[in-house]
């Protein structure tokens, strides 16, 4: 009985997506039923300048914030590896998950306006990096603590100083966690909507903002096409995440 129930859940999860993908190839615009196979919505999509602009913006912000978060995260782990007392500071980064994104977004908007910082690409980047740190540090830290201390001790006694040990031993062993958290941060940043809505100002449009205005205008197969492409782009990322480290361990 339960397996049937579970099957229904999967159906629930995937029917809309499958329908969406199928109809991106429909030659006639909705609401006409299936007419014929066509790729012309995709052609229209690729010609849309607005779309590419917002896509590039999102991509840039996400990649930069991911790299920034990971870099600061690694530096922080290095600090912890040198000073045990640093560990007590780690809980400071857990609050990113406790505070609702909305509150943080509002906080940042008013913060920026208080210091009269114009909203734009930089403020968006800052916001996404804060978000990213909240994931990077807990994940990296947990993995770091799981490493047997005897490995670092072995490296030290074999003559490698603490910094060399960090680069030759600790960091390589943290690679799976770096990959996992990097992918996670990238995806969360790329899909993010709230921060774009509040912290990006009027000049910057991310993909999410573009999508929302598209949705507001109503159903158009161009958006179907876009959705299909994004879907297929995300799958390899998810695969990567999944294979590198049991993704569920993140939780």
């Amino acid at each position: 009985m339960i397996p049937l129930f579970v099957f229904a859940i999967y159906l629930f999860l995937y029917v809309p997506i499958i329908v969406l993908v199928l109809f991106s190839f429909n030659s006639k615009s909705f609401p006409s039923p299936w007419d014929g196979f066509t790729l012309h919505w995709y052609k229209e999509l690729f010609q849309s300048k607005d779309l590419w602009a917002s896509f590039t913006t999102s991509l840039t912000v996400s990649i930069l914030s991911t790299l920034l978060s990971l870099f600061m995260g690694v530096c922080f782990i290095y600090y912890i590896s040198r000073r045990q007392k640093g560990e007590s500071l780690v809980p400071l980064f857990y609050s990113n998950l406790i505070v609702p994104e909305l509150v943080l977004a509002i906080g940042l908007v008013s913060y920026f306006s208080l210091f009269q910082v114009p909203l734009g690409f930089q403020t968006l980047l800052i916001a996404h990096t804060v978000l990213g740190l909240g994931f990077a540090i807990p994940i990296l830290f947990v993995r770091y603590k799981e490493l047997p201390p005897s490995l670092m001790e072995a490296s030290l006694i074999l003559g490698a100083g603490p910094t060399k040990t960090f680069f030759k031993i600790t960091l390589p062993l943290l690679k799976p966690a770096l990959l996992a958290s990097g992918l996670l941060i990238f995806v969360i940043s790329f899909d993010d909507f709230l921060f774009s809505y509040f912290c990006a100002g009027t000049s910057v449009e991310t993909l999410s903002l573009y999508l929302i205005s598209s949705i507001r205008f109503g159903i158009s197969p161009v958006v179907n096409a876009l959705s299909t492409i994004l879907l297929f782009l995300t799958i390899p990322l998810a695969l990567l995440f999944f294979s590198s480290k049991k993704g569920t361990e993140v939780f």
């Binding site: 029917v15 809309p16 609401p31 530096c75 600090y79 912890i80 994104e101 909305l102 509150v103 908007v109």
Partner: protein
């Protein structure tokens, strides 16, 4: 590699080189402080300032004038509390629904998945990894007046007129559950994976039935994971306003929509902040109560322990 170290109280130790050495010693802190500075500057400072500013009045030019409750007075009206309550309700119902759906899902995958376990889990994760706006659009597509579901129903003659699925609370809840399901499922799955089957065997050995074992052994052990999943859903769902707005139209007002309306206006911005602070506070209190509640639930399940 022999080096001879001088005893600590010789003058050689106190040469000016000490500063360079001291600098070298503190270098790791310099390196690692980047993250700390960032966190304080862009996470804690904004939140604290937000808290303070909700109680302050500012001049036109932005300088501080006085402490005031004026902003709060504006929102201490029953209407606003209703909005907060609606958001709490939304968060709570979403969390419960995802629990009801996610638990059997996690259970089936973990215990009955076999070879397909990874694949099944992967299928659950994919929606999480794709832009949620796409999913909203997908459901739009399906549920709209002229959408897929209605087309099918009309075509099969089950209904005569298209049903308005959208702009209903049904649509809102559907979408909320759709989006938040992975958040609930994954922690539970993770915990189930690590679950020690010998506990169940021991319980059955001692004479408990399947149901009793479930209630007294399995559930309490899974409680931390359930708790994690619950709050992973409850807290973000509280602040959710995009999904309700898109799927439910303007019929329902939630904290997020009210806040964004206030913030957008210049004069009303401080009120928006005050409202955010108030909602945040109430959320915190509610979460605390719920958190304690899960322990009470645990005690009830196990009959008086923990």
């Amino acid at each position: 590699m022999e080096t001879i170290l001088l005893p600590e109280n010789t003058s050689a130790y106190n040469r000016p080189k000490n500063f360079k050495r001291h600098l070298k010693k503190e270098a790791p802190f310099g390196v690692g402080s980047g993250a700390l500075v960032w966190q304080f500057l862009f996470f804690y400072a904004p939140l604290v300032l937000m808290l303070i500013s909700s109680f302050s009045r500012f001049h036109i030019d932005g300088t501080f004038e006085s402490f005031t409750f004026a902003h709060f007075k504006q929102i201490l009206k029953i209407d606003y509390f209703l909005v907060i309550f609606e958001s709490l309700k939304l968060g709570f119902t979403t969390a419960c629904s995802t629990l009801l759906l996610g638990f059997p899902l996690a259970y089936t995958i973990a215990l009955k998945g076999g070879r397909f376990k990874s694949f099944l889990l992967f299928l659950v994760i994919i929606p999480f990894w794709t832009n949620f706006l796409l999913h909203i659009y997908a459901w739009f597509f399906v549920l709209e007046k002229g959408g897929f579901l209605n087309q099918v129903l009309l075509w099969t003659n089950l209904i005569q007129e298209p049903i308005h699925f959208l702009n209903t609370s049904f649509a809102v809840h559907l979408m909320m559950v759709y989006y938040y399901l992975p958040f609930m499922t994954l922690p539970i799955y993770s915990s189930l994976e690590k679950f020690d089957p010998t506990l169940i065997e021991a319980s059955m050995d001692l004479g408990a039935t399947k149901f009793q074992t479930f209630r007294r052994v399995v559930l309490p052990v899974l409680m931390p994971a359930i708790r994690t999943g619950f709050f992973l859903v409850f807290i973000p769902a509280f602040g959710e306003f995009v999904i309700p707005e898109l799927m439910g139209g303007d019929k329902f007002m939630y904290v997020g929509s009210v806040v964004s309306q206030f913030i957008m206006g210049e004069k009303t911005a401080p009120i928006g902040i005050a409202f955010t602070v108030l909602s945040g506070g109430i959320l915190l209190a509610a979460s605390f109560l719920l958190y304690k509640g899960t322990f009470a639930l645990n005690r009830w399940l196990t009959g008086g322990h923990r």
